[in-house]
Symmetry: D2
Subunit: 403 residues, 4 copies
């Protein structure tokens, strides 16, 4: 978590190229131990060899969970197109063949390897989808299509060096067309009964820690807002209340994630996993509070950080009328260009390519609420309440729908 | 208000090219009457002639209020650069000469005329900035620079016809270099004492009605969310609670604006003006609730409506691997292309060029809160409270800072 | 609405003894006209005679809608106990006999008459519950039990004159045991098909106007907070931001209600009814924003306005140690007693008998959201969205649950 | 924290009689070590002896921090009445004499001892107020006046055993009239330079852990809401979304507190202290989220859990008409009495004597925000932002107010 927040502050980007990959390694370390113990497989040993190799070669490892999914009301094996979720299409002596797609995968552009995990909890009918393995990014049969972002065309323009930060979040679609994965890189193959553990462990840690990235982005928004206040000729103190509200929001997602970790527990394999109730609660915060931080960034920055309220740098530096824009965009001690850049930064952070996927990244808040629902011992709480007010009769849910 | 909401639903854009212009005409109708009555000028007659001309020629009239402002801690006449706010630099028999800039002006691209109003409340030292007049968009000496928006480069691409709505909000910087405005088009010139009325009347009506535009945009977001639910293979009913929350937010800004109008009053000139307390309260809502509607749009739509989670249409239709993206992006009955377009629409509405300036458009929420503060009779309320609990002693604010 | 807000400011209480009664008269004026026109009855004439009588005698008229309801999953006629909802048990030449209960009825303690309306929308099986009539408060067979409130025992103590406002909201349970109502006081009897109109008209007007009462209470909370700031030795300006937030919340419920009225329409009978979508939206605000105003009242007031943080006035004036409490409770210019009273007022308004029923008064917010849901033309909005992004294929809800 | 949450669930009350006392012991363990090391005193040894004595005698120890304070714009030594804050009036060979008051002190009614701490950060002029010591509750010269709560009179009624939980939060005013405290019970006496440390350590731990009490109360509110749903004849599942929202709110304050502890650090004395930024952020949450949980409790419970919507138990059991109330209050499987009790519990928890002081308990949210402000490295964040967008010029706050 500390690394994620620090990285965001320094790069203005999430650590997509390592965070899912790291998490996947910890999760599979625990799950492979469970599989091996019960089924006599040697997955953990394979994983250990691969991790040691990756570490000694300083490989950057992205991770991929989310499948294309298709029709959300159908299970993978019920889909009209069986490829809709990544699946094993063949098992050979020396490895397996996989086919399908992983969507919206962060940071593969900056990674050497991609760790693949099953994207859901599967029963026996869906066992072909229970697959975990690791592949090099440039493996035969894998096509990677980078996603696009609202303001990413600016990065291709000549003025990019002035008005776009030299950083950014990447996300990609991974399209697997019968890709062969050697045996020693496979850590789960059709052991569907363990997919629930993968999802449980993965989401707990991921949703605890994701609060740190968005806090780091929020810190940069505080900084950008301080700059904008000054670029507008005002003291940052003018906006102390709003800056504090931003800091409070940032610290909620960070501290709550730290709490989820602290309340978590150690798996017998040595991996640590965050407390699910607290971690999923944090995912709900992550899907809410950063939006408020963005709103405050736009409020502090003034009109020119809002969408559509700034000329392009091409106009700003136009030989004919650029001097007029520069004249009129200067608003205090800082230069017109500093104001231009600071406004661009606030725009980029709040409504441009700098916006990370807080809402569905790491899963949707509705999915998190489902976990909160089942992790909250409501009957136990009802019993506490009953005892406090001395109700002696049982009060179960009504039997069945009447009428 | 009704027109603004209906237009937004039908065009996906605000009515920037008429709304400020209309408002300006109503405001100046009242203010010119006051000036004429007290100073014996003939401004209202000039305005009347011009309005009749504009109406009989069906001219579209944008309006411009916001000056470049410069250093926000200084008054216009104190600015290092006297042009920072639009000002009168010369008065001739046949008209006036103006110089300066109006920033972030909506809809001039679609207008024939631009109605200029003073951007602040001025005292005698700033009388040169007290100017109201109307100019044709193509007047000599006026340079208009359109602002840029995060995703507007997409509109220039070949695929624009597929992935970008054929509409949009425009905003511009108007740069006046000694522009001559004929006498009959000038409706205020240095009568600084009436600038307070201009601002008061203008903001009341503008901030009452702005709730209707954002409600209209919110209606489109509801529609886009219904489409996305179905494109994902789900019933829109799945998200009934969230759709209702969106509708509630839309109706608050719309209905509160209608309330401001209903509580408002008729000026002796015949113009109607909304109740300031209610109108400025609405501006606070407009700077808050649409952000929540956008958040819900992203929540309902799923990952692919979030930033950076969709490939470009160029990739989608690529001859080599486009079929794979199409295969994996199909998620229910609707075609992959329908899903692609619906997701693009949600993105465009929430984080692309379709986002209107709710925060500072029509002035900042902090400015609105200042009006709320002074329009709230706090001492009167304190007296009601004192009477209810029978406190007979006076309870004024403490005399002065001690120590 | 204006009266409701003004009354609250002056009395610290809602106008329970007239508001539902007035509304009932307007609603039944319209509904009786519809019944008479279609069924040839003479209800409106009866109502007119009674209203003229009531007005010439200056009678105060409470109103009663909510039935005991019993098991919420069953209709009235399905309840184990048929009395659970108020019903007609007999029809005679000269009048009707009614039986059952109306719960949580406001202001009967201050009224001479009570106007009874059906509490739900009924089909033929429930026609006995479709009854509207008016009864004097002291009618034979009617038992009225006043409800209790957390701090109401204080009103019975000797110190009541000092520490409790001489006002308050009353609510009662009305228990009807075969009460005879003369024919000329009956305005609906078993015409179940018109109960939907009663509910629709009643809730629209009630939920539009309820925003004015809670705004009035909020105004008193602003006043009490100004007093508390000063009683604590501070300037009210210290809390300007919070006081403005309170005022904004108050004005939202008031102005939105005014908007609902303004957008509303005139019934052919001459009654006016508020716009349902806006009115029910306001009910959602009324169930939310006043809680925030209370929270801010407690925040501004400091610890002693919170629950359990003030001694009783009996202790405050105790001959032995009362002088010590007075010594230590004085905090600025105002006397210790003024601070005591101001703190009591804030407590009474936020957590004592002065709290009105914002949540379920006039119906629950979930009920209001149901109306919002059906009053929002979601399919129409989906079509607007489809048109904006040029999706030509139809996108209906998926046919049926798969699997 | 775990104990605090568990206790609240089991008792419906905070652990006022131990939580501040425990915290005080940990804080003074660290502070006395610092004083002793620098000034050569023997405070820690005295404290150790007293703690060992208290533990071996199983003494319950309350704690007291908040002074009467008087005029909030003046320092203690500037107050017209020097007793306004607790102070040392005499130092003797064998002990000290103290005078003044501690306000709103929790749990002394259930304690044998009271640990007194300085209530603010003091400079040399205020050194007499820098005092920490422990006194038995029944010490000569100490008068304790219990505060009152809105619904506490019910506890004195005959029906208390039915309608009021047999528990509750207590808070008191402690009035010290020249109380002698023996030397061995004094742990700070005029060492004003260390009061900042006391406040810093105390508030960090207190505000981290207070999230656990309010989470515990929130758990009981979830339980009470489950009971109310069923008492109304509905399944608790009907309100799953709201119950989840309550659980999310509870877990935020709990988990964020746990995070503050986890990020905290170990003092050289062995005491652990929570991270200030995170702990004070939690205080802001504690002053906000529980209000939302209460609102939801009232929303789920229906009208009868709101204020003023339930008859008294005296009426409920009245020989003449009580049977009618019982008949009409029954709404599902549970008995009328169970529904009555469950509704009373929800009322008691949300607007009765069961409400704890979330707003100012442990200090006000504005005080906490002040800490957040100074604990947020805004300049550092501005530098990160500047670096990301490549602004090379310095951008400090404007020099000085112009004009």
């Amino acid at each position: 978590m500390k690394m994620k927040r620090q990285n965001y502050r320094r790069t203005g980007s999430c650590t997509g190229a390592v965070c899912v990959g790291w998490n996947a390694q910890n999760v599979m370390w625990a799950v492979t131990q469970e599989i091996d113990e019960e089924l006599g497989t040697d997955y953990q040993e394979r994983l250990k060899s691969w991790i040691l190799m990756a570490q000694s070669n300083s490989l950057t490892v992205a991770g991929a969970l989310t499948d294309a999914k298709g029709d959300r009301s159908l299970k993978p094996s019920q889909q009209p197109d069986p490829d809709t979720n990544l699946r094993v299409t063949g098992v050979r002596e020396d490895g397996i063949v996989i086919r399908g797609a992983k969507h919206m995968i962060c940071g593969t552009a900056a990674s050497q390897e991609i760790f693949l995990l099953p994207g859901g909890i599967y029963g026996e009918a869906d066992k072909d989808f229970a697959v975990a393995c690791v592949v090099p990014r440039d493996i035969e049969g894998l096509t990677i299509v980078e996603a696009t972002r609202p303001s990413d065309r600016r990065e291709l323009e000549e003025t990019a060096h002035v008005e776009v930060p030299d950083t950014g979040v990447t996300q990609a679609y991974l399209l697997f067309e019968d890709v062969f994965v050697p045996r020693e890189r496979v850590f789960m193959c059709r052991e569907y009964a363990y997919t629930a553990k993968v999802i449980q462990f993965f989401t707990a840690n991921y949703r605890a820690c994701i609060g740190a990235c968005v806090a780091g982005q929020g810190d940069v928004m505080i900084g950008a807002s301080v700059l904008m206040a000054r670029a507008n000729g005002l003291s940052a103190k003018t906006f102390a209340g709003k800056l504090v509200d931003m800091s409070v929001n940032n610290q909620v997602t960070y501290g709550l994630g730290a709490g989820a970790c602290a309340i978590g527990s150690r798996h017998s394999s040595g991996s640590f996993f965050a407390d699910p109730l607290t971690a999923h609660t944090n995912k709900v915060m992550v899907a809410t509070l950063p939006y408020e931080v963005k709103r405050l960034t736009q409020e502090i920055g003034g009109g020119i950080v809002e969408t559509g309220c700034m000329p392009s740098y091409q106009d700003f530096s136009d030989p004919e009328y650029g001097h007029l824009l520069q004249k009129y965009l200067k608003a205090g001690e800082p230069s017109a260009e500093a104001r231009f850049k600071a406004a661009r930064l606030s725009e980029w952070l709040t409504i441009g390519s700098g916006v990370p996927g807080c809402m569905h990244g790491g899963g949707s808040p509705d999915g998190a609420k489902l976990v909160v629902r089942f992790a909250t011992p409501m009957e136990e709480y009802a019993d506490f309440a009953r005892k406090i007010i001395n109700i002696e009769e049982e009060m179960p849910d009504p039997k069945k729908p009447k009428k």
